[in-house]
C-alpha cells in the first residue's frame, strides 16, 4: 500500500500520480482491449511495463514496412513506422515498453524473473498462448502467490467457444451489438471503429482495481476471465432482458429513442455540419417550439410526447427543414441554454480542439519522441484528492528494455547487449 499518490522514479525519469501509484503491472497486452485497459491503470499511477515480442509486434504498431503518412511524414524525427502509428500511440499512454522474445527459453526466464515485481498482469492472447509459454495463472501464482492475472479474450477461457478467435470487429456482431446498430431502414452495422475493445478495456480496468483492493484486504490474488462477448452483451443487457421478458428483438432505432421524440441528428448549414437535438420533457418541447418559431406548439400532430412519437417522421422532416438554415454551433448553444438536449456533431479534429475537453485536461498535448507533439485523449476520471495528472506518450518499441531490466533485475549493460545480440531483445524488425 502506498503512502502518497505521487511517486517519483528518478532512475526512470518519470512521475507516477493517482490512486494506483505504488502498484506495478508487467503486462502482455496488445492491439486495443488489453493495451487500453492497462493504459488506464497507468494513467491512474500504476507503473505499467508492456512486454512486446519483435517477431510478432503489437498489431496496432502496424506492419514494419508500412508507409508513414499524413502530417507525420513531414516530422523529421518520425523514422520508424511502428513507433508513429496513431492506433498504438493512442491506447498506450503511461507505459514503459520492453522487448523479450517469449518464443525463447531466455525470454521466458527473464519474464519469470520479473513476475515477483508485478501486482497485476494482463494479457489478451488467444486462450492457449499463456499455457504454451508456461505462464498460465497457476504457474504465475507459483512464482508470486498473490498475483492478479486478467485475461481478455474473444469468448473467455471456459466454454465451448473459448478457442474461437475474435477481434472487436467480429465480437460486435456475435455479442448482439451489430444487430442493434444501424439506421432504422438499413442493415446491421459495425461501429466506426472496434467499439467492443473499449468496452472490454473499461470493464477489465475496474475488475483489476477491485482485485487489487481485495488483495490488499485479504492477501489473496485472483484470476479474471473477461470474454469480450460477455462484456459487450452485458452493455446491451436491457435489450437481452427485453427478449427474455417479451420475446421481442429490439429493432434498430437509428438515432431515435425508445420513448421520446424528437431525438435525432439533423443537417445544419454547410458541409458535414450536423446537430444532435432531443427533448424529453414537455418543458423542453415548449422551449424548442418557441426557439424554432414554426408553429409546432399549435400543431395537433405534436401536442403530447405520444403524438410526437406517433408522427415522428413528420416531426423529423419539420426539424430538418428548420436546422438546414441554421448555423450548427450557434443553434446548439441557443438550445442548450434553453435546457434542451443539443450538441454539435464533432469530428475527430474538432474533438481534439474542443475547449471544454481541453479545459478539463482530458484532451491535451502529448509529446512523443518520434511523432512530435499532438493532441490526445487521456484519462476520463477526475479525483479530487489523488489526481491523476501525469501523462506520458506511448513508448517506442523496446524503449525501456535497458532501463527496466537494470532497475528491477540489476542487469548490466553487457548482459542486455548480449540479449540484443542473440535477438531476445532489441528494437525494430527482427533480422
Amino acid at each position: 500500500m502506498t503512502d502518497a499518490s505521487t511517486i517519483r522514479n528518478e532512475a526512470a525519469g518519470i512521475t507516477l500520480t493517482g490512486p494506483l501509484a505504488g502498484t506495478r503491472g508487467i503486462v502482455l497486452t496488445q492491439a486495443w482491449a488489453g493495451s487500453y485497459c492497462t493504459a488506464l491503470l497507468g494513467m491512474l499511477g500504476a507503473d505499467v511495463i508492456q512486454v512486446e515480442v519483435r517477431k510478432r509486434p503489437d498489431s496496432w504498431r502496424g506492419d514494419y514496412a508500412a508507409p508513414i503518412g499524413g502530417r507525420i511524414k513531414d516530422v523529421e524525427t518520425a523514422v520508424h513506422p511502428w513507433n508513429v502509428n496513431p492506433l498504438y500511440n493512442s491506447v498506450n499512454l503511461n507505459k514503459r515498453c520492453i522487448t523479450l522474445d517469449l518464443g525463447t527459453p531466455e525470454g521466458i526466464e527473464i519474464y519469470r524473473r520479473l513476475v515477483p515485481y508485478s501486482d497485476f498482469i494482463a494479457e489478451n492472447f488467444s486462450p492457449r498462448v499463456m499455457g504454451n509459454f508456461g505462464l498460465e495463472y497457476e504457474a504465475l501464482k507459483a512464482i508470486k502467490p498473490d498475483i492478479i492475472l486478467a485475461s481478455l479474450s474473444a469468448y473467455g477461457h471456459i466454454g465451448s467457444w473459448a478457442n474461437i478467435p475474435g477481434i472487436g470487429g467480429t465480437i460486435e456482431p456475435t455479442s448482439g451489438q451489430s444487430a442493434l446498430l444501424g439506421y432504422q431502414d438499413g442493415p446491421p452495422m459495425n461501429s466506426g471503429q472496434m467499439y467492443p475493445d473499449a468496452v472490454a478495456a473499461f470493464n477489465a480496468f475496474g475488475a483489476i482495481i477491485a482485485a487489487l483492493r481485495h488483495r490488499d484486504l485479504t492477501g489473496e490474488g485472483q484470476y479474471i476471465d473477461l470474454s469480450m462477448q460477455d462484456a459487450n452483451l452485458a452493455m446491451i443487457g436491457d435489450s437481452a432482458l427485453e427478449y427474455v421478458l417479451t420475446g421481442r428483438q429490439r429493432a434498430r432505432l437509428g438515432n431515435r429513442h425508445s420513448t421520446y421524440a424528437p431525438h435525432g441528428i439533423y443537417a445544419a448549414t454547410g458541409t458535414e455540419r450536423w446537430i444532435a437535438l432531443a427533448t424529453e420533457t414537455d418543458a423542453q418541447w415548449a422551449a424548442l417550439c418557441s426557439i424554432a418559431g414554426r408553429g409546432w406548439a399549435e400543431d395537433n400532430r405534436f401536442v403530447t410526447n405520444a403524438d410526437r412519437k406517433a408522427n415522428e417522421d413528420a416531426l423529423d422532416a419539420e426539424i430538418a427543414a428548420w436546422t438546414a438554415t441554421e448555423d450548427r454551433d450557434a443553434l446548439s448553444a441557443r438550445l442548450s441554454a434553453a435546457g434542451i438536449y443539443a450538441a454539435p456533431v464533432l469530428d475527430g479534429l474538432e474533438v481534439a480542439d474542443d475547449p471544454h475537453l481541453r479545459a478539463r485536461g482530458v484532451v491535451r498535448e502529448v509529446k512523443h519522441p518520434e511523432a512530435g507533439t499532438w493532441a490526445q485523449a487521456t484519462i476520463p476520471l477526475h479525483f479530487s484528492r489523488t489526481p491523476a495528472t501525469d501523462v506520458r506518450a506511448a513508448p517506442m518499441q523496446g524503449e525501456h528494455t535497458r532501463q527496466v531490466l537494470a532497475e528491477l533485475l540489476g542487469m548490466t549493460d553487457a548482459e542486455v547487449d548480449e540479449l540484443e545480440r542473440s535477438g531476445v531483445s532489441g528494437m525494430g524488425p527482427p533480422d
Binding site: 488506464l40 456482431p173 483492493r213 462477448q229 421478458l245 450536423w274
Partner: protein
Amino acid sequence: MARVLEGVRVVDLSASTGAAWCSRLLADYGADVVVVEPLGGHPLRAIGPFTDAGDSIPAAYLLANKRSVTLDLDDANARATAAALCRRADIVVSSHAPSRLAAWGLDYATLATPTLVMVHVTPHGMTGDLAEVPGNDLTDAARSGWASINGSQEREPLKPSGWQPSMCAGTVAYAGAVAALRWRDGHPGEGQEVDVSEVEVMAAAFAPALLRSVYAGKAQGRRDPTDHLAGPVPVQDGYFALTISRAHFWRDAMNLLGLPDLAEDPRWGASFYRQAHKDEYVGRVTEAMSQWTKMDLFDELAVRRVVAGPVLTMEELRGVEHLRERDFWRKPADQPDGPEYPGPALRMNGTPASLDRRPPRPGEHTAEVLDTVGGAS
C-alpha cells in the same frame, strides 16, 4: 465465495442510466446499494420498452440488486433524511448537475463527511463551461466524436445503439469508485470526489480515431459504402462480418471462400495494401460470402482459426450454449422462478459477481432503510 465490496454502503442518487449502472456494478460485487427514488419513481421507470404489465425493462436491468427508498427531495425533511443516509454511506453515486446538488444541500461540501467517496456521472462533468448544460446519450455521441464515424458517408451521423455512452461512463465510474475506496482503506479518513463525464469517457474510447485524425490532418469519416468488409455483409440467412486483421487470417479465409489468387499473393496480407486496393477484391469476396449460411461460415473459419462474426440476434444468443457454460444468464437469488438476467461482463474467480435481488418496487425498502437513520419518508 468472497465479495469484494462486502460491507460497503452505497446511496444511489441517480436519475439516469450511467450513474444507475455504476451503482448496479457496486451491488453486483457485494455492496449494499440503496437507490433513492422520487415519489413518482425513478426516471428510468418511464423509459421503454415496457413489459406487457407496463414495467420498464431498462429500469429492471439497472435497478436490480438494489433496495429502494422513495423520498421527495423537494421537501426539507426528506432532504435531511437523504443527507443522513448519504453521511453514513461509504459511497454516494449522483447524476445531478452541481447547482441541483447544491440546492438540495447534497453536494460534497455540504455533506461535509471527509470519509465519503462521492461519485458523479454526468454528461459533461462537474466543472467547466458545460457543467450545467443538459445532455443525454445522443448529445454524448455527438460531442465525443462517435457519431461522426458511425454510420455511412451517404447518410447522417449515427449514435451508438441503446445507452452505450452512459453504460461506458458507469463502468469507468465504478472503476473510479473502487480506486477511491481502496485509497481510503490505506489512508483512513481520506474520502474524495470522483468526477466522470459521459462525453469524456466516450472521447477516451474515441482515442484511436481522434489520434488517427490528428496525425492525418483530416478527420476520420463514416464508412465508405464501398468499404463493405469493414462490417457485416449479407449472407444466405442474415449478415456476417469478416473483418480481417492479420495476414494468415486473410490467406486462410480466401482459400476457404474459393479465391486462391487472393489467398496466395503475399501483397494482400498487409492491411495497408488491402485498404488501398479495395476495388480489386471487395466485390468478389462479398459474392463468395453470399453463398454461405452464417453459422456454417463461422464454424469453418473457426476451425481455421480465422476471426469472423455472424450477426446474432437476442434469440440466437439465448440459444448459444457457450454462454450457458459460462453461467452468463442468472436468475436473481430471491426470485428463483423469475426471468434470467444477462450476467456479469466478466468472471472474477476469487470474488465473483452475484445477483441477489430482483429489481425493487419503488419505495419497497423505505421503512427498513429509514429505520437505520431515524428518518421519515
